[in-house]
Symmetry: C2
DNA sequence: CGCACGCGTCGGTGGGGACCGAACAATTCC
DNA sequence: GGAATTGTTCGGTCCCCACCGACGCGTGCG
């Protein structure tokens, strides 16, 4: 019975995520950015000493990477594969989904539902729309499994996203990622990350608070043109309850 | 800060795998078959009452599915996605990899290294060879991400594996799965499972002890012909140390 | 019809680990 | 240089849970 992985090794790894505080850290870090130890401690509601201990464990376990800068300890997910692991686990866990209490929280939630990062790629309505449009335009195709078409490779190159270098990554080029709010897949993988980065570089999108992403005034027509969409389809959520008009 | 998944929910799910005994159960169940509670208890070296408790938790947590038959409680992984989760976790956990002690164990290990199931698809040298050959023959292509080619769809249909019904599954059609012994990818996903099943149906392969798989005398030339390979390339491990001769 | 077998339930025990406060070290700002 | 901020180390406490043995229940065999 020489099993390759001892149950102890698997259990040890899973134990890192089996604590609400550590799990909360990983979920917070799913925004793809580096947090300080203190920020994570406050967000999780534990003492700094407790957070420090947890972070040491997560780093030693290989789930987190740390970077010391002066008196700060910056910490981030070690690897896109860790992000996928946390996503997969979180996607299987039951979701309480309590509705927002305050108006401010409702507004923040609306922004997140419109566009946000999911680790390193775009999610929310915008992310799902991107995924669907790329399929409709023939950039992607799922006849034989999700893949970029030859025509898509040139389309992406025109956009300034060469596909060839992405193939060297240790992760799938394209991958489905179930969207939390839309309950439909958006685009992940090396290409999903590259597109998200490219939009930021072009100034079409900017990061908001937390993991929120906003489409800039210049980015909205530019993205619509690139995707051959009506700019109205990219309308962000309005301040008041009424639906957007033209 | 209304995060979608509470850290508690994620932690609760991870806690199911954070115990060596429960993790060992899941690793054992990775052979894709249903085990009885007693078998798992003996394999893990715990009392039946302890195993019963663990199984109840795993079933309630949605990781395992159970089926009662008389006085037996059969249990299996609930879903291919659970298998993938356990694989991903196990692949990241450190591997002790102690060499086999006895001759019998060495022989069993050689059989496993040659061909075995990885949940529901083929792994081992045979699994990797299948993966590589399908790529070389143009059945699969990874120019835009791993996918089946149009030519591959007809080739698979000729083999008796229609691709169209596989697309309805809630899992990717094709997916890389890192091989434990070969350290290179073999074919997983709905197609990997369908091919494994088809080979068994055709009598080209049969299940051995545990998760081992053997190529039958009839299966060897048949598979070689289907893949346009020299049958020698499919040579199984020999009893003694010497290499196989034609 | 009883006996054997497989499994579930229930206390009791023990160990691991999550948490905090306090003291200490390192860095930056004034 | 002194003070405030950030993070770490160290005891100590408490709770959770993995484990077992014993008993009870249903199934299947002789």
């Amino acid at each position: 019975m020489t099993t390759r992985t001892d149950g102890h090794a698997l259990a040890g790894l899973a134990a890192l995520l089996a604590d609400p505080t550590r799990a909360g850290f990983c979920l917070a870090l799913l925004d793809g950015r580096a947090w300080t130890a203190g920020e994570l401690a406050r967000a999780a509601g534990v003492a700094p000493s407790t957070a420090s201990d947890h972070l040491t464990r997560l780093v030693r376990g290989g789930l987190l990477a740390e970077e010391r800068q002066g008196r700060h300890r910056y910490v981030r997910l070690a690897d896109p594969s860790v992000a996928q692991l946390v996503e997969d686990l979180a996607g299987r866990a039951p979701a309480p989904a309590a509705p927002p209490r305050t108006l401010r929280a409702a507004s923040a939630q609306a922004s997140l539902a419109y566009a946000r990062t999911c680790y390193d790629h775009l999610a929310g309505r915008l992310g799902v729309l991107l995924h669907d449009t790329l399929l409709a335009r023939g950039v992607l195709d799922r006849a034989g499994g999700l893949a970029v078409t030859p025509a898509g490779i040139t389309w992406l190159a025109d956009l300034g996203v060469p596909v060839e270098p992405l193939r060297a990554a240790r992760r799938p080029l394209v991958r489905d990622c179930l969207d939390w709010t839309e309950r439909r897949p958006h685009l992940a993988g090396a290409l999903g990350a590259a597109l998200c980065r490219r939009f930021l570089d072009l100034g079409w999108t900017v990061r908001g608070t937390g993991r929120a992403v906003r489409l800039t005034p210049a980015g909205r027509p530019a993205l619509a043109a690139a995707l051959a969409l009506d700019p109205a389809a990219l309308a962000p959520p309005t301040r008041d309850a009424g639906p957007a008009r033209a």
